[in-house]
């Protein structure tokens, strides 16, 4: 840390203006783009070793740091000097044709660019084997030394980029490199070294920023460390995950989430409602505590802070009496009660919407297209560490895969009309039974409630039996909640589902309907019957009811654990082995939790401390359930799409549950008259009058805006109308965007598939040609190299970079190919394509062949932003165009790039750009335009014409023609044939496409 501090902060890292510029460039890119930094090295162990020597060698670092100490303009120059000198030294007559290692260099230099995606691309090129013959591998081995060179340079580039990053970004970028820790250490060391070697003028802004990041990082590590030590149930969760996998784990995580929620609501209510109330000495509890209250919430508790009725409607001042001479500011309990409850619900809404949206986004929108087999395969649960559990999972997975495969076949089966009718009838029957049950239960609860409220004489609550009789309603409700779901799951025997998923969804739906209708009936009873039957403090009465429901529900959960699971296990293992060990029913358990949470939300108004009960309940529940699970249950047979199910549960928690509660609370606030003898809202017509009174009483001069907002916004219908309209418009816009993106995705997919086909086709051709000419060319290294894709790729670039050298064939091929691809991508553009797509295209035809031959990683995924690629590309060009003096050798390299990047390089020229260089660039433009740019514009399909116009011996006119092509003469037929074949194929494909549209 100490070294870190010194280097990171005191170091004038960003002081060169050019570096600054670069820093800006890299800052635009999110750091997670970096991970594929130097994959190549890790993949190839042999290379790695040699690469490491490179790291450690003493000469390397000083050079790097020297270069780093200068401006950006000089950095690449310093690094690539060797290559450049070699380049100028190698005239056409040189014996370079055979030496691929050296030829690779110019390419490397031109390809100097960020550490990002192309590294990955190149990496895969190294390890591609697929259709290539063994000689290709031989060639790979031959070029191992080159790749070492390349690796070193790439690392250098990486270091440069890292140095330019801000401290925070750098830490993240290094951390996300997919290389071993040892290498990360080395990289970090080098970056720090480079930074220390840079001394420049002091930049306060950067200094401050670094300081801030350091501070921020320390704080955040402290917080995360503290959080990790505080993390609840870490070990317990690990055990569960290890034995039962993540699906059951998700249930326990849900408990934890709800617990956090309850703790939050408890803190809010306790802090803003209860604590002020405790300062009020006027209201005193004079009941006696008997014990049964814990269960019923009656007696002593009715006169306590637990319930609404106890709270005062005055302003709390902290003084001993109600005259407001206390030392503290007056605290208006009415307002506090109102605002705490409403703000709490708003916060709940935000957090629910946020978590529902993010989990929906993660699990549904992006997961839509993958079938189950892929999902099963790639998501092995690495948490599972128990040997038995592993074996049972393997078995489950195997049966599921088998089922899936047979399902695939069965899907094609059609049902006859009779069968369909039968099936429909069964579903209808099942729905009839289930809704009948739900209606019956609700009616039963309703009549029980009526009986309860008519018979219960709330005047003499002291009687113990009377008090116990209040428990009747919650017990009945809990019984219904326990038994009816079991009956529902028996319906499985009548119904028949093709997909188990549908069965699960139906079951959940029915359970939700049952629970919500019961709660709905209860709410109606509370808000209509109880309010109107003359109970002195009906809020406390309702609070008591909810309290009992919550508590009794908890006991029933415990009973269900014991009788349901434990007895089931005992019977299943001892007496009826056919019954087996019970399976943990996640859906039912989660729905129980949701039901309890709904009750707790409704109860918050009537009993502000209900979250405390909820906290205790959830806390105990975790241990009970865990114990029962570990002792009695076995892991679920089917793979449970845990993540998706969790989303559904959160949505259920939001939609019927939270929205229902919100409606109830709104009705209470705006429509129901509070009881006149107790509670904070006594004497008011409806609780919302608190706000109206408060607004009227505002006299402070500075707070007129509150009044204005209230009068013009809150009370205005027009405002809400406009708001709704805006939201609707926004939804429509986003919907249109989604539709557009879907189309774009389809097009891009098509494109990728086409590129893939090209690749396969080229490879096949290559193989064929190679096998044809194998015997004659075996001695010729340059042709043997043609077999290697790696080499093709080199050549493609080299082709352009050294078109004045003997390898005419390759260069011509390159030209034709480049044009044709450019054109294809032109033709495939729909007219409405965005700029994103265009920039993607630019970068794509920059790497024309690598794209095709390796893999289309350059293809932007629909989500990937093309502008990043553009940026990478820009920088790359900048690097190459600045790093070299205007020797002729640079022109060809620019050849392919210049058309698309002319503008960017213009824009990015540093001011110090010498006239000489400028002229070089001009010359290059002159060269480029006639040859590459013009043709595609004039001809609809210039790839082939371009190729045909350029006969095999075609040499760009600007370049000295060297006839000494004996060494590479043999390559011509190969590249010729390839280009021709590709063109033919392209044409065929195109016709086919036209036919389709």
């Amino acid at each position: 840390m100490s070294r870190q501090t010194r280097d990171g902060v005191l170091n004038p890292a960003y002081h060169d203006s050019e570096t600054l510029q670069m820093g800006r460039g890299s800052a635009q890119r999110p750091p997670q783009q970096n991970p594929y930094g130097s994959t190549e090295r890790t993949y190839d162990e042999g290379l790695q070793a040699s690469g490491r020597q490179d790291w450690d060698s003493a000469e390397h670092i000083p050079m790097a740091s020297l270069a780093g100490g200068q401006s950006w303009d000089q950095q690449p120059g310093g690094l690539s000097n060797a290559g450049y000198e070699w380049d100028s030294a190698s005239d056409p007559g040189g014996a370079r044709a055979g030496d691929f290692r050296e030829q690779e260099r110019p390419r490397l230099r031109t390809k100097r660019s960020s550490i990002l995606r192309q590294l990955r691309m190149r990496n895969s090129s190294l390890f591609f084997r697929g259709a290539l013959s063994s000689s290709a591998l031989g060639w790979l081995r031959l070029t191992a030394e080159d790749t070492q060179d390349k690796t070193a340079q790439e690392e250098q580039q990486l270091i440069i980029e890292l140095v330019a990053m801000s401290f925070y970004d750098r830490v993240r970028a290094i951390r996300q490199l997919p290389v071993s820790l040892h290498e990360k250490k080395q990289i970090r060391k080098r970056v720090l070294l480079e930074k220390t070697s840079k001394k420049g003028r002091i930049n306060w802004y950067m200094d401050c920023r670094d300081n801030f990041y350091l501070f921020h990082r320390r704080c955040s590590t402290f917080v995360t460390n503290a959080y990790h030590t505080l993390q609840l149930w870490q070990g317990g969760l690990k055990d569960i995950g290890g034995k039962f996998g993540s699906s059951i784990l998700s249930y326990f995580l849900f408990i934890k989430w709800l617990l956090m929620f309850s703790i939050f609501s408890f803190l809010v209510n306790f802090g803003f409602i209860t604590v002020p109330q405790l300062f009020d000495r006027d209201t005193v509890n004079n009941g006696t505590f008997k014990g049964l209250e814990l269960l019923t919430g009656e007696g002593y508790f009715t006169q306590s802070v637990l319930f609404y009725g106890f709270y005062t409607n005055k302003s709390v001042t902290g003084g001993s009496s109600s005259n407001s001479t206390g030392s503290l500011l007056p605290y208006d309990m009415q307002l506090a009660y109102f605002f705490t409850i409403s703000v709490y619900f708003v916060l709940c809404c935000l957090s629910l919407v946020y978590s529902a949206a993010s989990s929906f986004h993660k699990n549904f929108m992006s997961a839509s297209e993958l079938s189950r087999s892929g999902r099963l395969l790639f998501s092995w649960d690495f948490r599972v560490s128990n040997d038995k559990a592993v074996r049972s999972r393997q078995k489950n997975l195997s049966t599921q895969l088998k089922e899936l495969l047979s399902e695939h076949l069965q899907q094609k089966l059609c049902m006859t009309f009779d069968e369909r009718i039968k099936r429909f009838g069964r579903h209808l029957l099942a729905w009839f039974v289930s809704s009948g049950l739900a209606i019956g239960c609700s009616a039963a609860v309703y009549f029980l409630c009526l009986y309860n409220v008519n018979s219960s004489p709330w005047n003499n609550r002291s009687d113990l039996t009377k008090e116990a009789s209040t428990l009747l309603l919650p017990i009945v409700v809990s019984l219904i909640n326990l038994i009816v779901p079991l009956l529902y799951s028996l319906l499985r025997n009548i119904e028949f589902f093709t997909f188990p998923r549908h069965e699960l969804y139906t079951l959940i739906l029915r359970n939700v309907i049952l629970k919500m209708s019961i709660i709905g009936v209860l709410c109606y009873y509370w808000l209509d019957k109880v309010v109107n039957c003359g109970i002195p403090c009906w809020e406390t009465f309702v609070g008591g009811d909810i309290y009992r429901l919550v508590v009794i529900d908890f006991f029933f959960c415990l009973f269900a654990c014991f009788f349901g699971e434990f007895l089931h296990k005992v019977i299943g293992t001892r007496f009826f082995p056919r019954l087996g060990v019970p399976e943990f029913d996640i859906a039912r358990n989660v729905l129980d939790l949701i039901y309890a949470q709904t009750l707790a939300w409704i109860g918050i108004y009537f009993s502000p401390l209900l979250p405390l009960i909820q906290i205790i309940k959830l806390f105990l529940m975790f241990y009970v359930k865990k114990f029962s699970l570990m002792q009695n249950c076995h892991p679920p047979q089917r793979s449970w799409r845990a993540a998706q199910m969790m989303t559904i549960f959160i949505l259920i928690l939001f939609f019927p549950s939270y929205v229902g509660v919100l409606i109830t609370i709104a009705v209470i606030f705006w429509r129901i008259t509070p009881s006149s003898s107790c509670g904070p809202f006594r004497g008011l017509n409806v609780p919302f009058d608190v706000i109206a009174n408060w607004i009227d009483s505002i006299t402070l001069p500075g707070s007129q805006w509150v009044v204005w907002i209230y009068n013009n916004l809150i009370q205005s219908v027009l405002f809400f109308f406009i708001l709704t309209l805006l939201v609707l418009i926004l939804i429509y816009v986003y919907y249109q965007i989604v539709v557009g993106r879907k189309k774009l995705i389809a097009i891009l997919r098509d494109h990728i598939a086409n590129e893939g086909k090209d690749k396969a086709f080229l490879l096949e051709k290559l193989k064929k040609l190679q096998s044809q000419s194998m015997s004659s060319l075996y001695q010729d290294p340059s042709l043997e190299a043609m077999g290697s894709k790696q080499d093709i790729q080199d050549r493609e670039v080299r082709g352009s970079s050294q078109s004045r050298t003997p390898s005419k064939g390759t260069s011509t091929f390159q030209l034709g190919r480049s044009q044709s691809l450019q054109e294809t991508s032109n033709r495939r553009q729909p007219a409405s394509f965005s700029g994103e797509r265009w920039s993607a295209r630019d970068s794509e035809h920059e790497y024309v062949l690598p794209d095709i031959l390796e893999e289309p990683q350059q293809q932007p995924w629909p989500g990937a932003s093309g502008s990043q690629q553009q940026d990478i590309q820009d920088r790359e060009v900048r690097g190459s165009s600045q790093s070299r003096t205007p020797s002729e050798g640079t022109f060809p390299v620019q050849l392919r790039r210049a058309p698309s990047l002319q503008e960017t390089s213009n824009r990015r020229q540093p001011t110090s750009f010498s006239g000489e260089r400028q002229s070089a660039r001009d010359a290059e433009r002159e060269y480029v335009l006639p040859n590459v740019l013009q043709e595609p514009q004039q001809q609809p399909w210039p790839g082939a014409p371009g190729f045909q116009q350029a006969p095999p011996n075609y040499i760009p006119p600007d370049y000295p023609v060297d006839d000494d092509s004996s060494m590479e003469g043999g390559t011509l037929p190969v590249s010729d044939a390839l280009a021709q074949a590709l063109w033919a194929r392209r044409q065929a494909e195109d016709e086919e496409e036209e036919g389709r549209y």
Binding site: M1, S180, K238, F378, F382
Partner: protein, 189 residues
């Protein structure tokens, strides 16, 4: 850097913290656990490599079907014997930790599943992967026909450029669509 101290120095600790996704506690715990794997006489050396057999006795890895692949992927040993140094071990824990990004997780998952280390998941890799997942027992193994069909299905939906293999970016694309991956690609000490 890697000095001969049985205790991690403060500097080293903060460096590890910076370079991995682990918290201080996790690194210390990892250090303790790693020391238990070392033979007594070499407890004090940091750069001792624990052989793969020893690593695989850890309860977290003992029954994992991919345990050997994990060792090979994270080992930086020149002999390619799957032995792990402490830093390799940290690397392993970092990738499998809670806070590692999905990108890095999927990158390493790809390498774990790439049995022949050739940079793509081809048919043979997928066959091995399926066999690892279904176990060795004859009753759980898929038949040849089922296997072909399954792999055909997988390639059909994952192999976007239709070249017969799943490469890293295709794999990451698939992974980004299977939300369970990130939560299940975890190993906690």
């Amino acid at each position: 850097m890697g000095s001969s101290a049985s205790q991690l120095t403060k500097e080293l600790l903060s460096e590890y913290q910076e370079l991995t996704f682990l918290t201080k506690q996790e690194i210390l715990l990892a250090h303790c656990r790693f020391k238990e794997l070392l033979p007594k006489e070499s407890r004090n050396t940091m750069d001792y490599r624990v052989p793969m057999e020893k690593i695989l006795t850890m309860p977290e890895l003992k029954s994992n079907p991919f345990r050997q692949r994990i060792c090979y992927v994270f080992s930086t040993s020149e002999a390619k014997d799957g032995s792990l140094s402490f830093e390799d071990f940290l690397d392993f824990l970092s990738v499998f930790s809670d806070s590692a990004t999905p990108e890095i997780k999927s990158h390493y998952a790809f390498r774990i599943f790439d049995f022949d280390d050739d940079g793509t998941l081809d048919r043979n890799d997928l066959v091995k992967l399926v066999n690892c997942l279904t176990g060795d027992a004859p009753e759980t193994r898929l038949s040849q026909e089922e296997m072909n069909q399954l792999i055909g299905n997988i390639l059909e939906e994952s192999d976007i450029d239709k070249d017969g293999t799943v490469n890293l970016s295709e794999f990451q694309h698939v992974i980004s669509r299977s939300p369970d991956f990130v939560s299940s690609f975890k190993i906690v000490l």
